[in-house]
Subunit: 364 residues, 3 copies
């Protein structure tokens, strides 16, 4: 327990952990105060996500490169996965899908854009390994194609449409997971020399003993699951209070809350002129959500959801994912970055956020 | 007055200025001869645009690099702005939008394509600074995203749709102007060393005294405004006579007339193997129209238009702008050009022109 | 006849020629056994296509570089052309269009992807001439724009729509053929030094005497035409037996059968580390079908079809062609390839095949 407590003591973000018991208590005492519960659950999820991320990396660091890379690649977005699973069990499929698409867009545009901007304000020109960026962009492109096809099929409709989209979604889910696995084989094994800066790791400064790391992983995952339940229940009603549309909440708020921990790592990397790290985390997280988290949710929906979930997204969401992928391919193509590249990337994100904020309720 | 008269004497294009009094007189004497007025107003606008462009550059040359760059970047498309303002005041929103989209497409494809072709017929392979081309392509991409979003939101309709699109358009207009301003800060100030060939300048061979330049700027702007009024009034009826659809007129004719002066500069640059200049003018003008002229028109429509104008374009126009931006990104990516690159770019433009020419009246 | 027989004896694929008389006899004896006729005609077309390809190259090799390149560029996809002409004469326009779009997609994704994968499994990293790949990608992009426009115009419908789409299609067909001809002028004449690895040639190891080559060309074309007739008649009914949708048959089966010969050459090139050859065949064939075969079919439909054919494709097909072109541009941009690039490319193809396989009958 020693290293865990000292880690919490040294990391200011983790002081927010105090909100974990507060929100759990508040949910018992005032189950109807949705706005309060929403704010408290956000404040509690952020440090839990940071802790989860640190524990995953500690386990990864202890298990050697290949197994560690694998672990990071599967559990790196555990927070997003747990939140989405909670929403899935509650049958909130629109929220699940909005948060998936939103997480892809937030990681690709917001995380990457802020990293470029913060780094660019400190350093005149920054360089990064574009081989790695291209792999992730390629994987993202594949996932985007996979998300576009069900909508395209659905357009050419017929009464049997829903069944076909469902069957197709399962096929696509399996295919994306296979592509993701082969991508890991490629970057961690057969062509690892091309990916010098490391996949996602490196942001664990001190790693914990195996037992502590595993215990933290299990315990914190449980806490995230409990708090996620409160978050998912309160988020829609709180949105109304704040005057936000459901689309904005799922796409922007949930995505930013779920990704807060990785964002902190990416931004700190950019300010230390380690842009390889920032680009790796941003695009790697996007690819992971698109090719691992989303397909796993589709497959798990057969087990835990009220009805199976498909991969057919709202056309606007598909377009935003496509434009995000194109933006990422464009800005990472040269392997160099300045503050203005960050501004351009963030502007695209702002346009999306603006449109979703103004969207009439019920359209998302 | 001396330098002005000698400049006119030396530049054959400017002999067309004789049509300025002719068209103004004709508008009084034969206000119903729309076809005649259309032809005369085109013949009068082209030399006025050239003069305006020269005066702007003269002022810019006298005010130092930063202020000059700023001036060129804001007044470089003054002709297009004045024509569009005249159409805006007349409530001809379809014409305004068609001419905006058309100007972006014409500059990106026609001006760039002819420059590549003319240059390539004289030189085997030409090179240009691709950093500058990438900045402009990036700005254009951002503007394209901004133009796509209102249509996407509108598709997911509701009765409150129009109000939302209007609100969104104002937000997007402000955002685009901010992006344009930051782009100038980037290319003229913080990273100017990357943009060696200069933004738009260099095509003023002899610059005029400040007083003359300012007086010309004011006087010619007034004349452009007067002639534009005749042009806007006559263009639709003349189109019917020539068998052209309204979409073709706005998108192709108005755009080519408005950009004639810059095209002359870009083509002459290409034939002198100064392709940096040509690419800079072509993509710079496109970016300026997309990120400065269009947003300014949206904001000004609140002051001078009968009703506010939004940024929702006809889906075909959005697609053409998107494909133009993609084409520009593709062909400028390598920083090298041959005659065939020009042919490819012009072919894309020809496809658009062909489709618009055949389009049934009223669809544009 | 000697070289022809020895060529057949040495090439195992050509032993399949025995199926040519078999299928012609079967069509007389059992005209209703659609499934049998379908399988036999596929087995007969594949070796005929290989023979046709060899004969074309032999003629090309004897006529000098420029004329040879021209010949290869016009007759290189003779099999696809003959099959499509047969379907055209039968008025099966949906099959013609599906096979055109399918051939573009199959060459761009399947042929390229398998080449990258096979090459990558043998060599760690492979390089190829990206100038040539960029030319073909540029031509493909142009063709994609040409295919998108009729659908876009048709969307903004009106009763006169069909006539306009038809007129536009003829214009686009002429334009694409001109672009293709200029592309040949560029790569075979004015800038041939940029295209070191040769356009499409090089996979004829021993070339035949002129007379034999011409006689084979004529005779085999006739045989392909005869077998195509059986193939086109049987394919739809056989599809039902195999549980395949018409879209899947046209897009996937016909395209793969028609391109079998080129695929054999491309894959063998990749395994010999001559990736220039593979990329040239894959993208060159795609460009040829998009810019030569498809336009020629539109123009010929006025002569031999029951009614004129237009260039308006099913929106899903247009999207797949667009995504294929984007994928090709993305993966060939760097001029390097590994096995994973092949996997990514093939995955995109698999997604398309999956969607088409599941598509309800009648939607394609």
């Amino acid at each position: 327990m020693g290293p865990l407590l000292s880690h919490i003591g040294n990391t200011r973000l983790l002081w927010l952990l105090v909100f974990v018991p507060v929100v759990l208590a508040a949910a018992k005492l005032a189950p109807e105060s949705h706005t309060l519960l929403f704010v408290l659950s956000v404040l509690a999820i952020v440090p839990l996500a940071a802790l989860l991320s640190h524990a995953t990396e500690s386990v990864a660091a202890r298990t050697g490169d290949a197994a560690g890379g694998l672990l990071n690649a599967t559990l790196g977005n555990l927070t997003e996965l747990v939140i989405a699973l909670t929403a899935l069990r509650a049958g909130e499929y629109m929220l699940v899908k909005a948060s998936i698409a939103g997480a892809i867009v937030a990681n690709t545009l917001f995380m990457l854009g802020v990293s470029f901007l913060l780094g660019g304000l400190k350093y005149h020109v920054q360089e990064f390994n574009r081989v790695s960026a291209r792999l992730q962009a390629g994987l993202l492109f594949l996932a985007t194609v996979a998300l576009m096809i069900p909508s395209a099929v659905a357009v050419s409709g017929s009464e049997a449409k829903a069944a076909i989209v469902q069957e197709l979604s399962v096929g696509l889910a399996v295919l994306l997971i296979v592509a993701y696995a082969l991508g890991m084989l490629y970057s961690l094994k057969t062509h690892r020399e091309l990916f010098v800066a490391g996949h996602d790791g490196g942001h664990a400064e001190t790693s914990w003993p195996m037992g502590l790391a595993l215990a933290t992983l299990a315990g914190v995952t449980l806490l995230v699951a409990l708090v996620s339940e409160i978050f998912v229940e309160s988020v829609q009603e709180a949105a109304v209070t704040f005057g936000m549309t459901p689309a904005f909440v799922g796409f922007i708020v949930v995505a930013l809350v779920g990704g807060a921990a990785e964002m902190a790592s990416a931004f700190s990397g950019a300010r230390k002129n380690r842009l390889d790290l920032s680009v790796g985390i941003a695009l790697g997280s996007s690819a992971q959500i698109a090719l691992f988290v989303a397909p796993v949710l589709v497959l798990l929906s057969y087990v835990i959801g009220p009805v199976p979930m498909d991969l057919q997204f709202w056309p606007g969401a598909v377009m935003m994912v496509l434009l995000s992928t194109l933006t990422a391919a464009l800005v990472t193509n040269g392997g160099r970055s300045t503050w203005f590249v960050g501004v351009l990337t963030l502007m695209v994100y702002t346009i999306f956020a603006m449109a979703l904020y103004l969207l009439p309720p019920g359209t998302g």
